[in-house]
């Protein structure tokens, strides 16, 4: 790719992520919330890891910490062996709802990271166009974000992150606002890009099918405060296609994952969870606003 000279110091190998006994707390006093507790996690270079868990379990907090928006309260968090202190272009993030700049065209959005690097105008244009081509949106380069569908907006978000050649790509429920059909083609596109660009992906989701279809490994988090409850290696062969979704192997893995997800979370079918539930849900809301 023509991007090569833009990244002279880039390590061709994707990055490893290590979390050791990580605690993340918000606030103080009565409103203090323990979002993540005693969390250990290793992601190998080039691995595709999904974080699966109930809502409010600290999945997004974890993404925020690896991205550098949130500081860990205690423990160690390293990417490429270096402690994370602030956001940077080596760790790209795709958010649940797109964060494209409304005042920039699709092409200008994708060019943004290259511009921040100080790339020359012609070079960054060519690189961004090539990237847009690989997500199938070359014809929409001059459009503004509001003129695109939700799926297209997320494809631009992906292109905008990947054009930076990040060492790690963090994705926070990026497809959950899309309809089922669009979601599936986005998942396939993501797998193709993951294969083509050799990236390390940490993918947060609450959708079991999505996690199994995409990942090498699924990490199941407990309810708040989030800690690793179980891990499941997905040995399904790659490349994976949509046919896989109806195979017996897939169903078996899904049964296992659902079992892990709901393990120890009270009797199934029970609506009333007791008064202890109420304060927890308010805590959840507080932490989410951060």
């Amino acid at each position: 790719m023509s991007a090569a000279p833009l990244f002279p110091d880039a390590d061709p190998a994707p990055a490893a992520i290590e979390l050791r006994q990580v605690d993340i707390h918000f606030g103080a006093g009565k409103t203090a919330v323990r979002a993540v507790s005693q969390l250990d996690l290793d992601v190998a270079p080039g691995e595709f890891v999904s974080i699966l868990g109930p809502s409010g379990c600290g999945k997004s907090t974890l993404i925020g910490a690896i991205a550098g928006f949130t500081q860990v309260t205690s423990g160690e968090l390293r990417v490429d062996g270096r402690p994370v202190s602030a956001p940077g272009p080596d760790r790209g993030v795709v958010f649940q709802h797109h964060t494209l700049f409304p005042w920039k065209t699709v092409l200008q959005n994708v060019e943004f990271g290259l511009k921040m690097r100080g790339a020359a105008a012609g070079e960054r244009r060519d690189t961004a166009l090539a990237m847009l081509d690989s997500v199938g949106l070359i014809d929409f380069a001059r459009h503004y974000p509001w003129q695109l569908s939700g799926g297209m907006q997320q494809r631009v978000s992906l292109a905008r992150v990947l054009v930076n050649r990040p060492r790690v790509t963090l994705m926070d429920e990026p497809f959950c606002a899309l309809d089922a059909q669009t979601r599936l083609s986005m998942q396939e596109l993501l797998l193709a890009l993951w294969h083509a660009y050799h990236i390390t992906v940490v993918f947060v989701t609450h959708d079991v099918d999505e996690a199994i279809f995409l990942s090498d490994r699924i990490v199941v988090l407990s309810e708040r405060p989030g800690r690793v409850k179980a891990e499941l290696t997905i040995g399904l062969p790659r490349p994976r296609t949509r046919d896989l979704l109806t195979s017996g192997e897939f169903m078996q893995l899904k049964r296992e994952s659902l079992g892990l997800l709901f393990e120890g979370s009270g009797p199934p079918g029970s609506i009333y969870r007791g008064p202890a539930e109420a304060p927890r849900s308010t805590q959840t809301r507080v932490a989410r606003q951060r």
């Binding site: 991205a67 550098g68 928006f69 602030a86 956001p87 940077g88 272009p89 760790r91 790209g92 993030v93 958010f95 709802h97 964060t99 700049f101 409304p102 005042w103 920039k104 065209t105 943004f112 990271g113 921040m116 690097r117 503004y144 974000p145 509001w146 905008r160 992150v161 930076n164």
Partner: protein
């Protein structure tokens, strides 16, 4: 009055008229008839009021309002004919436009810079807001006596009044725009390698632009309001001075002409701001469809 409200008012009459006539066959024809109807009603109403005014002035009606000294529409139209060929009038308009341009430009630059600073920098907000909050409730017109004392020339004091009139709407809208910016856009830009300067230049400023343009457009209106008052009190030349002079010289048709011109100039300049805003933000969807 807004168009829907007006339509609701006249609807019973229009419907009564449509029913007495033969009902049109197609939806399109019915809509065309209704559009024509509302146009006719508008024109008729305007004509009626002008006619009443004409009648009141020529007959010197006196019932609570005293029309004996009010020029009739025909007199105003005649005076307007003379005005077009007079160089004096053009110089009045030119003085006012020059003052607006000077006062408004200074206000725009200062209010946007201070607004961004207050919206982004804590120490700027803490130090700038208290004195500005004290000054904000004082109307620009109340500054006129002090402005005359503050500046050596009447010209400078009038530009100052124009500046005061424009400053606060622009300043407050800018703060609002900067503070209302979607935090996630700032986060996203930082994960794409933006430094503090880039965040400001590439994200904060364009993000606040719609609010800034709104502030400029409101500020344009208030600066005209302030200028006309200042010209009436302390001016030489200018459209406000022209209107007041017409009163003191008992040249009454020219009062109305001055008023109409002030309206046109205000309308033209606010149209100019909107046009500039659209040019600067081709991406902006005021309907709220941009998400």
């Amino acid at each position: 009055m807004s168009k829907p409200a007006l339509l609701r008012l006249v609807a019973p009459f229009v419907r009564a008229g449509a029913e007495s006539a033969r009902a049109p066959k197609t939806k399109g024809a019915r809509r065309a008839q209704r559009a024509l109807g509302s146009l006719l009603i508008g024109a008729a109403s305007l004509g009626l009021w002008l006619g009443l005014w004409q009648l009141a002035s020529t007959r010197d009606w006196q019932f609570f309002f005293r029309f004996d000294n009010i020029p009739a529409p025909t007199e105003v139209a005649l005076a307007a004919g003379e005005l077009v060929s007079s160089p004096k009038f053009a110089s009045h308009v030119e003085s006012s436009v020059r003052r607006i341009f000077a006062g408004f430009s200074i206000a725009a630059v200062l209010a946007v810079s201070l607004g961004v600073a207050v919206g982004r920098v804590r120490i700027a907000a803490l130090s700038l807001l208290p004195p500005l909050e004290v000054l904000r409730p004082i109307p620009a017109v109340a500054w006129i006596p002090l402005a005359i004392l503050l500046f050596a020339s009447a010209e400078q004091s009038m530009i100052f009044i124009t500046f005061i009139g424009a400053f606060f709407p622009i300043f407050l809208s800018t703060i609002h725009g900067v503070e209302g910016l979607d935090r996630r856009l700032v986060h996203a830009s930082r994960t794409l390698g933006a430094g503090p300067f880039d965040v400001f230049w590439e994200v904060v400023l364009p993000g606040a632009l719609p609010a800034i343009v709104t502030g400029l457009s409101i500020g344009m209106g208030t600066s005209w309001f302030s200028l006309v008052t200042a010209e009436m009190i302390s001016g030489q030349y200018g459209i406000g001075y022209y209107t007041w002079e017409a009163y003191t010289l008992q040249n009454y048709p020219h009062i109305v002409l001055g008023m109409i011109n002030i309206g046109l100039l205000g309308m033209g300049s606010s149209f100019g701001i909107k046009w500039l805003g659209r040019r600067a933000m081709p991406w902006f969807q005021p309907e709220g469809s941009a998400t």
